[in-house]
Amino acid sequence: MSTEITQQAHAATIQTDVHGHHEGDHGHHHEESFISKYVFSQDHKMIAKQFLITGMIWGIIGGLFSVLFRLQLGYPDMSFPFLEDMFGKWAAGGRISNEFYYSLVTMHGTILVFFVLTAGLSGTFANFLIPLQVGARDMASPFLNMLSYWFFFLASCIMFASLFLQTGPASGGWTIYPPLSALGQASEGSKLGMDFWLISMAMFIVSSLLGGLNYITTILNMRTKGMSMTRMPLTIWAIFFTAVLGVLSFPVLLSGAILLLFDRNLGTSFYLSEIVVKGEILPNEGGSAILFQHLFWFLGHPEVYIILMPALGMVSEILSVNSRKPIFGYLAMVGSLFAIAILAFLVWAHHMFVTGLNPFLGAFFVLLTLLIAVPSAIKVFNWLTTIWRGNLRFTPAMLFAIGFVSLFISGGLTGIFLGNSTLDIHLHDTYFVVAHFHIVMGVASMFGMFAGVYHWYPKMYGRYMNNTLAYIHFWVSLAGAYLIFWPMHYFGLAGMPRRYTDWSNWQSFNMFTDANRVISTVAMVVFAVQLLFIFNFFYSIWKGRKVTTQNPWGANTLEWTAPIRPGHGNWPGEIPEVHRWAYDYGKDGREFVSQVEPVSDSESKH
């Protein structure tokens, strides 16, 4: 007992230490002002909601952009006067101009990849789940955590402001390859919009580094008593590897972006050499544009796993809870996450097979890329064996998790095509690539995020979301995802290139006119259904069915031992102690055994 008191005292010193800049201790009962509770909050749960709602706003903007350019792609011969009313010279005559099209595509990519699926997804669930699932009162540094959100907010403001520049936002693609992005005279979007983009991304990188530092430290240092690493839920493992990837790869993007800023504004020649723009011969000599691609993709490839891995973790958890079965192959799941994290750093050049990369070097990147199929297949196998003969409960979260597995398989298979450098010569820069990464990284991660929102909504707001709307949301989204992206594989195999505003004069691709029209129509329907989700989300915050039990899903993890609406500090009194792993479902005739329940004499130890 006395040792326990020492330990409590120790925990208390760390707490006061960590929160030292507060006036006194942060008590669990003192009244908080509106500002400190909802705006400059240091409570990880509130910060998670801030990330989620900001991400949702960005999701609407980024999704709307795709609807706009799909209008152009699906109906190239029609004019939409309302576009001119809204966007003026960008859509003169009711048709989207070429510059505007590139801006829309660039911003769609940037917003969805970074602002929605990085900040909105891992920002939300890392913040919300880490302290609750490892048993901590808050993050290691709640202050840095708050800064992390506000740097994201600042990045958002700058990026949003760039949409209203006279010369428009960045338009060189989300990968901002120089020399196009480095030379203002080369395109409208490479003028001020590009500087805004770079500064916004610098802020974003700071945000995700501050967040990542906190996530790693909290997971490694602030776990409750008994929560050994191998008793952690898979969500936490996935978020841990995500944070490690982010902390190691984002700084490299920052290096690349800083050199690009030098080239743009100080006349250096890191990436520029022997260029003629509109008859003007530039003085830059000796630069290498490929150098940027190496620096970019050294982040860019881990980035796609930063997006995907939190979804992998949440889906594992949700499938197990709603199948009422232990996760199949827990250690294999952890091992495959680890393998994916390592391989993420060793495959970046597969984005560069057609840049003149040495084919001998390319062969190694092919091999390493194809190796990713192994851990991915292990994960798929384990998910399928987890739900195999389970007592499935088709909650909306469960449906989205199963939908995720389906999309992960479909999108992953085409990755094997693209990973081969020989096939990639044909498929590079075609719609096949668009279909591949949208399914496996975009829609799949989106599904993981929806699964997470539906599953943890009762913990976030103490209410349920409406199930009927959720089912409509799921089925339309799933059918829509396949209807939109499946045909694109055929476009790509036929050689149809990406990044074209209009193919109507291109005889070979006229056969896809109808298919394009279908895709555009479905895209609009799917977008409308996402608005339904947003409505459901906000409506349910105030009007949703109330949660009446602490543990509505009958889950084992720690967050369900906290009160229905936990205060800052998460648990009144002591933090629960953990005695077993998170996946004792259907054990010894019991439906579930919470992590806090001591191991009885009749059980073997976990």
């Binding site: 540094s141 580094l209 490694l220 790869s249 250096t268 890191f270 000796g286």
Partner: protein, 191 residues
């Protein structure tokens, strides 16, 4: 049972751990820059860089500052607050001197008519400016942190004798020191 408790007590303070992870992140940033430098160096049109001799003086200064911050940590552990504050301020002054010497180094290069940026500049000296400049910004961040901590020792209404801030900032300070030594050796060997 007793074992887990021991582990608990020996655990590194979260702030110190966070600093180590942050250092890993900064290492990746400079690894990215120096490997870009190596790639660029192997291509045509590379001009061998001149390292301004002043940089060797700044190296001595930053090495000395590592010693002074160690004195600060020792004073902090002994709860000798006046000396603690004094050594922090000395370290901050040395850090500022380091930055000024770096700026002097680049001005010397300009005086020798070596263009760092703009038309006629070669990527080699631009790299020197970008990499050493970013390192300088990291030192500047350290100086700011030192001054804030030293200020807190004076200002704080409650007396706290925690040596954690001193230890965290000294870890960072030694790191930027070692990083600079790596960089100057790197530039020297990889001209």
């Amino acid at each position: 049972m007793a074992k887990t408790l021991d582990v608990q007590r020996e655990r590194i303070h979260p702030y110190k751990f966070t600093m180590w992870v942050a250092i890993g992140s900064i290492i990746m940033m400079f690894a990215g820059l120096t490997s870009a430098y190596i790639v660029k160096r192997s291509q045509a049109g590379w001009v061998m860089i001149d390292i301004p001799p002043v940089f060797w003086f700044s190296t001595v200064v930053i090495l000395a500052s590592s010693a002074t911050i160690q004195m600060a940590v020792r004073a902090s552990r002994q709860r000798d607050m006046p000396h603690y504050r004094q050594w922090m301020v000395v370290t901050a002054i040395l850090g500022t001197l380091f930055i000024l010497l770096q700026v002097k180094g680049f001005m010397d290069l300009r005086a020798e008519d070596i263009r760092l940026v703009g038309a006629g500049s070669n990527a080699s000296h631009s790299f020197l400016l970008a990499i050493a400049g970013l390192h300088g910004l990291h030192v500047l961040g350290g100086v700011t942190a030192l001054l804030i901590i030293a200020w807190r020792v004076v200002r704080s209404r409650t007396r706290t004798y925690s040596s954690v801030p001193a230890e965290v900032v000294s870890t960072y300070w030694h790191f930027v020191d070692v990083l600079w030594i790596y960089l100057i050796l790197f530039f020297n060997w990889m001209r």
